[in-house]
Symmetry: C2
Subunit: 274 residues, 2 copies
């Protein structure tokens, strides 16, 4: 899915919601544990219930890897099940020397058939650029994350510019590829920096974690982060997928996703984007 198609989906669904599939075997409803593949059954029901209200799904690889080979099977089935009109983001936070990153790109784009993969920038250019050689695929680079640890290094000021490290990351990554290939992770818990980050990357989409369970404010980050193609994919994981714990977990997840979609519709409309 390219950038224009993504914006078209946003306008069609009046939503820029990404549902995070952080599916934890210890948190899914008990009645699913008797099925052959509880993780996939849970995801399938969540996808059915939420697909009209979101434009992307983001399976978090850790949740699947923690279950070993069985987890990878569930992940593959989940990705195959996600409708074509939704962007599939493998939240993997990979990054390694060139020949290794090239293999990760192959793993996520060709083998798993994800549309996008999250990448950590610490190892620099040759760890990021191998992900750019795939048509209509996206690399989503960690810039300013939503967690407390973001303050340990990402916001450290650099001597050469008196600007924070994340700013150097955004500027450097933009010189390696364009806004049709690259998105950035910008945490919703950083509302005060959001305007600044948008000024650094006016045309890139941002994947925004941290709304909901982590406390980020949808309205504030939308107003600061919108560009003329919306430019935001706001992720919500736990708040949606664990909205219910009983047999009606899927309809509760659907309701929660719909609630977020409706808030987004108002914000998109107020901004003149729909």
């Amino acid at each position: 899915m390219n950038r224009l198609e993504l914006f078209q989906q946003i306008k069609l669904k009046k939503s820029y919601l990404c549902v995070g599939l952080d599916t934890d075997i210890e948190k899914i409803p008990a009645h699913l544990l008797n099925t052959n593949d509880p993780i996939f059954e849970f995801n399938k029901a969540i996808i059915d219930a939420t697909k009209d209200y979101c434009i992307a799904y983001k399976p978090n690889l850790a949740f699947y890897e923690a279950l070993g080979i069985k987890g990878w099977e569930s992940l593959k089935k989940t990705i195959d099940y996600i409708p074509n009109n939704c962007l599939i983001i493998a939240d993997a936070k990979r990054g390694d020397i060139g020949n290794t990153s090239a293999l990760y790109a192959k793993a996520f784009f060709n083998e798993l058939k994800a549309d996008a993969v999250t990448v950590a920038p610490y190892m620099g250019k040759d760890s990021v650029t191998p992900f750019l050689n795939f048509e209509n695929k996206w690399v989503i680079v960690l810039a300013l994350t939503s967690n407390e640890g973001a303050n340990d290094f990402q916001t450290s000021l650099l001597e050469e510019t008196s600007a924070p490290l994340y700013e150097k990351v955004i500027r450097a990554v933009q010189s390696w590829g364009n806004e049709d290939q690259i998105m950035f992770v910008v945490g919703a818990t950083r509302a005060e920096q959001f305007l600044h980050v948008r000024s650094l990357a006016p045309n890139n989409f941002f994947l925004v974690p941290g709304v909901g369970a982590q406390g980020g404010d949808l309205k504030a980050i939308s107003k600061a982060g919108f560009n003329n193609q919306c430019g935001l994919l706001v992720n919500s994981s736990r708040q949606i997928i664990y909205a219910g714990k009983e047999e009606d977990f899927d309809s509760r997840a659907g309701k929660e996703a719909r609630k977020v979609q409706q808030e987004m519709e108002v914000l998109l409309s107020e901004a003149g984007l729909i």
Copy 2:
């Protein structure tokens, strides 16, 4: 394996070699492709041929993930096959928010049964510390990597100290855990910085990639990097595992590992460590 046991293995085998299992289906000898699990058959033969000359194995996760579920099966079998007296390093370069890093730790330490996992520090404290809660397991944090991209961010000078980012990473990570839990990745291609890095982390083991194919000099980095427990795990991947391309690939790999071990024996002896 704890720090003392690791040093004991180094003294016993007169080696601080780590063999990198970057096993690429496109590079292994043709006769193995007819077997049921070529990747595992290759690794098994390499392990049999090199286990007396090395103290650690480092499967690079990307090479296995690129093959999907089958790759994970090969990886699991490989890890199960590695002898108990060798440290098993899952070279995964993971790192995510706290609850997710905790799952990665579970995936690598409990599910795969690796002894150590490499972690990227960009997301800060809560992305690293979940890996520390496992007895006799190791987290190996990227500090100064061997690739060219290391110069993009890792060596950027910070305003607060005029010191490079990697120095802040090393200092911060040391405040989160101790030398019985934490190692650092320090590239062999950075000989000029090696002494400085050792001064920052006198007691930690370093995992040192970049000797061999990437051009690092074993003698120089050993002299700069040794501490009183050796303190180095020097990795070699391609130079050893692809020493031969025919049916005798394993004996050639063994010979190459033995050659490196013999160089290491001289260096250990000159340093008074054995």
